[in-house]
Amino acid sequence: MKKIAKRDIDAFIRRLLENYTLYAPARVAACRPQAEYVTFRQITTPDEVVWDRLDTRQSPKAALLPQTEVLFEYERSADSIVLRPSKNGEGKQVLFAVRPCDVQAIGVLDLVFDTPEHPDVYYLHRRERTTIVGLGCNRPLSTCFCTSVGGGPFRKEGSDLFLTDIGEAYLVEVLTPKGEGLLAGTDLAEVDESDVAAAREMEEAALARLAPVVEIEGIQQRLEAMIDAPFWEEVQATCLGCGVCTLLCPVCSCFDIVDEGTMSCGVRVRNWDTCQFCVYTLEASGHNPRPSIRERMRQRVMHKFDYYLVNEGMLGCVGCGRCVRLCPVNLDIRELLIEIQAA
């Protein structure tokens, strides 16, 4: 393990910017100062990185699965149709200062998009040229619940390089050759025992703030037993069906495919979509297999806490707390899960 002094981190980021496109937590200005927020976006200078905020509005998901993405252009020719698949960017990218929950979410996305029978070329093209720099969470928020869903504030799995803030410096842990590649030309100091102890203290303090709040064990069986329970009728009464929980979720990856253009030329685009909207499943005949918020809310919870486990062996929730923080009617997935376990 090595460390990098905080005064040297800007030079490190500057060097990365020479070779990579960087996405990091950064401010987004708004018309009112109170409306300013921090989210993952592309940065061009080191001072844009916001190091101390865990509540990025969006995860770095869009760097791998853009909210809108052209799949191909089409153009009618005399006797056929010409399709030009989109390259959607070349060059390498670094997702920088990604919190362990968001890294865990990318692990789930990998399982969904990188399947042997139908690999998603667009996702994989981006994923292959992506390096992830994780950053431990010294002071988890009250909405964080990663330890309830198999994660942790210093979970390193999935990161190529992992940083731990130990005060004057960041501990730097190389986890993959990709991560090693980022460090070329960077002077790192050796760590001593006091640094390791400091990191351990940080981790213990963070864990102390994260007492598991939800018992996940057995949730699948509970959910499957209560498909038609009145529970869903009751909890759906508050939900507005706005879809913000899925829009901000780092795991949610459902999409729509639409054409933009005329019948002779245009583009086929995929856009993020959400199971919380009634049109998501609505068929042209008028039939809707999930006709009300009851079914749509059940779908979201069951997909994340049952179906993902069946199909991917991982939960579809990483405990980032975005859906808890930004739900306009204060629906809290942790409370729902506690109620489900108690039902």
Partner: protein, 279 residues
Amino acid sequence: MENPYLPIPMCIQRTFVETDDEMLKTFDLAFINEADGAGFSYAPGQFCELSVFGKGEAPFGIVSSPTEEGPLKFTVNQAGVLTTALHRLQEEDIVGLRGPLGNGYPLECFEGHNVVVIGGGFAFTTLRSLVVYMLDEAHRSQFREIRIIYGVRQPGLFLYKDELAAWEARDDMQVYLTIDRAVPGWTKQVGFVPTVVEEVAPSSEDAYAVICGPPVMIHFTLPPLIALGFPKERIYSSLERRMKCGIGKCGRCNIGPYYVCKDGPVFSYAQLDGLPAEY
């Protein structure tokens, strides 16, 4: 790496209006590039995503059977933006096709058994593929009794009328056609499909049932089938959802742990038991 989102170009060889309300048209599609056709092999019950460029893409069951030479066939109900655009296309127009997708009917299970095919309305599409496959000379002996129960609202709404007539004339299968309400000149069955299933009472012994139709028809046809002794493991249906990607990624055809597009569209009722009835 193959790009699963790129359609292959197809030329409309022929369009044919199936029903007298003119809402159902069959499209015969030919491969524009020979190589695409050579690499395309499918099974009854599979589906494709058809593109009308500029309007989008939607899933349709394959109507033709792999045992037939010639074009791929799809029967399309005019319902929304895409299907309306499709209906307006002419012969020699170009559409896109992705597929074949999904699992198809479990022919290996049906082999050596009696097969009862139950269809309602315009959901008979992939059932035609299945029946044509089973009746093919090379395959007929692999299956025992074949019975078809097919119901629509009124006589003009049957799909594939000429073929139905030919099947009725065969002595190696039974065909029961039914309409909802009696009309002058109609001499066959009258009544909803569930009632006709009760009347015909196909034996469940050594038999599989395949049932495709509107959700309400399926809902009321399952109880009589179960009463006849068909276990849920031997009742199959092909589900429809608004599938966009067709390869288990876009998420909208998710029912329980299944994706209709890649785990289906053909499921047995034993598989669907205990899942949310979201179909």
